[in-house]
């Protein structure tokens, strides 16, 4: 059972890599057979969405709603799962130089151990998973990858031409709520906190919506204007939730909390005792910027600094027409890594 997540991960990785290679080869062809004449080239539906749910989602025991949705709407479940994976990666990037960095949180659809506790870190994972699932379904809906999306059901192509895909956002939020909310008669404090944080994640999607408008008329005049809402980038949503995570509140029975705030039940464990920090990148510096605090992150074990020289292109200028002329610049970087014995889990 322990190897199951890695197997699925390798399968999706291999399939995605193969898919990317096919897409790159396809994009080189000036015209694509079957594409509508005059239409913009659109990324086709990923193969992973056509195959149905993998076995770990199909037989999930923690979230029974996922089992049911896999039989009726597999593309939606897979989009949500991939969205959660994307969100966890963004979280790891965002908290790269903090002690806890989202790296071993695990996907919410696999019922990881972290989500059985009421830590502050659990609140972020709940909210981020909920938001990422909604974002993933909304993005797949906007791309036309989900057949049961509201755009295709109601207006067909007309919806795309005049109003964009406004319903994708609501569809994503609805899918996230139905997929990730546990059902059952158990009514514990932990379950209450979980529901609150899941809702906070969905509200984060709503709070960060972007309004897009388009003008119609002769020569683009605004004789008629059409506006719709769409989701922000997942990086922006992750930043929003990380700010909420920094201001999360301890929940007690008599506390009053907003629906957009994150709440937790117990203090966080000491990261220095929970796992080894050996081999972690604790700081990063170039000639103009510095990030990270190694003394705090390495738990006092010390760190080593590696100097890197990177060639980058800079001072690019446009030459008519149409070339970019850039200079070759040398950029110095100093990467600090924590000392200590590397953990065994990194060895395959």
């Amino acid at each position: 059972m322990r190897a199951a997540p890695f197997d699925f991960f390798f399968q999706s990785t291999a399939l995605s890599t193969f898919f990317i290679l096919c897409s790159l080869a396809t994009n080189e062809i000036p015209t694509i057979s079957g594409a509508p004449a005059g239409k913009i080239v659109q990324p086709p539906k990923p193969n992973i969405l056509k195959q149905g749910c993998p076995s770990d989602l199909l037989h999930s025991r923690a979230l029974r709603s996922i089992q049911l949705a896999c039989r009726t709407h597999p593309a939606t479940v897979i989009s949500a799962f991939e969205g959660v994976q994307e969100g966890l990666q963004n979280c790891a990037n965002r908290l790269r130089f903090q002690q806890w960095d989202c790296s071993e949180a695990g996907n919410i659809m696999h019922d990881p151990p972290l989500l059985r506790q009421g830590f502050r870190e659990s609140s972020l994972i709940w909210a981020l998973s909920s938001a990422s699932a909604a974002w993933g379904v909304a993005t797949a809906c906007a791309q036309g990858w989900i057949d049961d999306c509201a755009c295709n059901n109601q207006m067909g192509q007309n919806e795309y031409e005049f109003g964009g895909c406004t319903h994708g956002v609501q569809h994503g939020i609805t899918a996230s709520r139905k997929l990730l909310t546990k059902v059952g008669a158990v009514n514990t404090l932990l379950r209450k906190v979980e529901k609150h944080n899941l809702k906070a994640g969905r509200l984060a999607i709503k709070k960060t919506l972007i309004s897009s408008c388009k003008c119609h008329g002769v020569s683009g005049s605004c004789q008629q204007k059409t506006c719709w809402k769409r989701t922000a980038t997942l990086e922006h949503i992750t930043d929003y939730l990380v700010e909420k995570y920094a201001r999360a509140k301890l929940y007690t029975d008599d506390s009053v909390v907003k629906t957009t705030d994150l709440i937790y039940l117990e203090a966080s464990p000491d990261v220095c005792k929970a796992k080894s920090v050996a081999g972690r990148v604790c700081a990063w510096r170039n000639e103009t910027h510095t990030q990270g605090d190694c003394d705090r992150l390495c738990c006092g074990n010390g760190f080593s600094i590696r100097h890197e020289v990177v060639r980058v292109k800079c001072d690019c200028e446009f030459v008519w027409c149409c070339n970019l002329v850039c200079k070759d610049c040398i950029q110095h970087r100093w990467i600090s890594t924590c000392n200590g014995t590397p953990p065994k889990s990194l060895i395959f």
């Binding site: 000036p30 080239v41 990666q89 795309y160 031409e161 972007i210 897009s212 683009g220 149409c322 970019l324």
Partner: protein
């Protein structure tokens, strides 16, 4: 070694994992918008970050701009619009590279008037505020393409073919008056900034309005003062009467910016919707009226000043009496009005009326250096030189008279006062004219260079590279100097007599004018006509003073 290999194996799959990379991450894709497939570049950046639109709507959105593209109001309108909806994506460094802000400003300057005719504002996606400026990465045609290039049927696909193509017409910012005539003019586009910037125009127009208003006011006041008190002013002072009239009327065109827009009063429209500054055409009646008022009456003003100097010479140098000069006033009028009419008719016959880019007013010599030389500089110079000679001669005679009077012990204060007034009047008239002539010579020099590179561009074999822009301050000095001659008329009307004259005119009119007139004449007459009796014969002088009838006889004898 094993550890680093393990780390690499672990991280590589993470970088290629997500199905959303193609939908969210930017990359270069072939341009698939039908209108933009003939661009010099083939790849565009996706998703389009400028408009925040999904790919479904880009094609439809671009169709809205098809009518604007077809107008070809700017040589790069097609390229500019496509750079918004399909920005260039350099292979190897995926990013959106769109047009520079300066390109947007130029396209907007040329194309906004067409949209305005249909009641459409400038489109939101083409708002110039959102375009980058260097050193940010942006696309901009080279200087030859924008300022000195030529309108090609389509954008060139190769840089070498573009640079080696021969010039076949006018530059892009000039208007070909007759595309079929290889020697026709390349006129300045209406409201374009070929020689002067917008700030230069605004500065000159505001200053000229103020000076024209002051000049016209002073001249009108002088004219009315002369009109209500005609008998007080005789030749040569009466020439100033007509001079102030001419100065007043020639100042009126400079006030038209207050209520007539520049394109209406200075531009000529072609059939294809483009308009240019008038050059040799009479279709614009405002332009023609402006030229007639300005050129005819400014020429007449110069001639009336010449007549003033001539009559001053007759009076002061040749001892003519006012009655004698008035007997020949018809010849004076004939010369002043006749010569200015002749000059105006010649300008009209030769089609030398043109509009100034700086002031948006029609006159002579604004865009033609030869016309400026022969119809403005040479006639003015002749008037100033001859008039100055006459004035010097007249003043020399009056100085000799003054010296001879002083030796006899006669009071010469009134003669000196008259000489001072005449001196100030002549200085206040000559000095602005000399300044204006110097500035006109500068204009002639500038026009000689610019005409060959702009208006006569089609007759040049090579590319028309423009000289350094002219100094707008010198042009403004010429305009202001021409509007400063009215102040010289004040020398004749700033006196207590003027106050009395206006009082009588406003309150009583005819009743009290007679009593005031009588005491003035005897007091001024002896100074103008001094007696020539020899000092050794005092008894004869005493006898004449006692008899009023005898005082008239010696003047007749003289």
């Amino acid at each position: 070694m094993m550890h680093s290999l393990g780390i690499i194996l672990l991280f590589i799959p993470l970088a290629t994992g997500s199905i959303f990379d193609q939908a969210v991450k930017g990359k270069c894709i072939p341009i698939d918008i039908e209108l933009c497939k003939d661009l010099p570049y083939n790849y565009t950046y996706f998703p389009n970050t400028i408009l925040h639109n999904d790919q479904h709507t880009l094609q439809t959105h671009t169709e809205h701009f098809k009518p604007l593209m077809k107008t070809k109001c700017h040589p790069h309108i097609h390229f500019f619009i496509c750079s918004v909806f399909a920005p260039m994506c350099p292979i190897g460094m995926p990013q959106a590279v769109t047009s520079c802000k300066s390109v947007c400003e130029q396209v907007k300057a040329d194309c906004f008037s067409i949209l305005e005719e249909f009641g459409i504002g400038w489109p939101e996606p083409l708002n110039c505020a959102q375009f980058p400026d260097p050193p940010e990465l942006c696309m901009k045609p080279t200087e030859d393409e924008i300022t000195g290039g030529f309108s090609a049927p389509r954008l060139p696909t190769k840089g070498s073919s573009s640079s080696s193509s021969k010039p076949t017409g006018c530059p892009s910012d000039l208007v070909d008056v007759d595309p079929h005539d290889p020697k026709s003019h390349c006129a300045f586009a209406c409201q374009s900034n070929v020689m002067f910037s917008t700030d230069n125009k605004r500065m000159v127009r505001s200053w000229s309005i103020w000076f024209a208003a002051a000049n016209a006011g002073v001249a009108l006041f002088s004219f009315l003062t002369f009109a209500i008190d005609r008998k007080r002013f005789r030749f040569p002072e009466r020439c100033v009467f007509y001079l102030s009239l001419c100065i007043f009327i020639s100042s009126l065109p400079y006030l038209t910016p207050l209520f007539i827009d520049a394109p209406i009063r200075s531009c000529h429209a072609l059939g294809n919707g483009r308009s240019y500054l008038s050059i040799g055409t009479f279709d614009n009646s405002y332009c023609l009226a402006s030229f007639l008022l300005n050129y005819f009456f400014s020429t007449a003003a110069a001639l009336w000043w010449l007549m003033f100097s001539f009559t001053l010479y007759l009076s002061g140098g040749r001892k003519w009496v006012p009655e004698g000069i008035e007997a020949c006033s018809s010849y004076v009028h004939f010369v002043a009005w006749g010569l200015s009419s002749l000059a105006t008719i010649i300008v009209l016959i030769f089609n030398k009326v043109d509009a100034s880019e700086l002031t948006a007013l029609c006159s002579v010599g604004n865009l033609n250096s030869i016309a400026l030389l022969w119809f403005v500089i040479v006639p003015r110079t002749i008037c100033i030189v001859i008039g100055t000679c006459f004035i010097v001669g007249g003043f020399a005679s009056m100085c000799r008279e003054r010296i001879s009077f002083r030796t006899r012990g006669t009071d010469t204060s009134k003669l000196e006062k008259l000489m001072v007034k005449m001196g100030f009047f002549c200085a206040l008239f000559i000095l602005p004219n000399v300044i204006e002539l110097v500035c006109q010579c500068y204009k002639f020099m500038i026009l000689t260079q610019w005409t060959r590179m702009t208006i006569d561009c089609k007759q040049q074999s090579g590319a028309c590279h423009r000289p350094t822009p002219p100094q707008a301050e010198i042009y403004m000095t010429a305009v202001i100097s021409s509007l400063a001659t009215g102040f010289s008329c004040l020398m004749w009307v700033l006196s207590a007599k003027t106050v009395h004259a206006w009082k009588n005119f406003i309150f009583c009119g005819m009743c009290s004018s007679a009593p005031v007139k009588n005491p003035i004449e005897p007091s001024t007459r002896p100074l103008l006509e001094p007696p020539t009796a020899p000092p050794p014969q005092p008894p004869v002088y005493m006898q004449m003073a006692t008899n009023p009838q005898n005082s008239w006889r010696p003047s007749k004898v003289v």
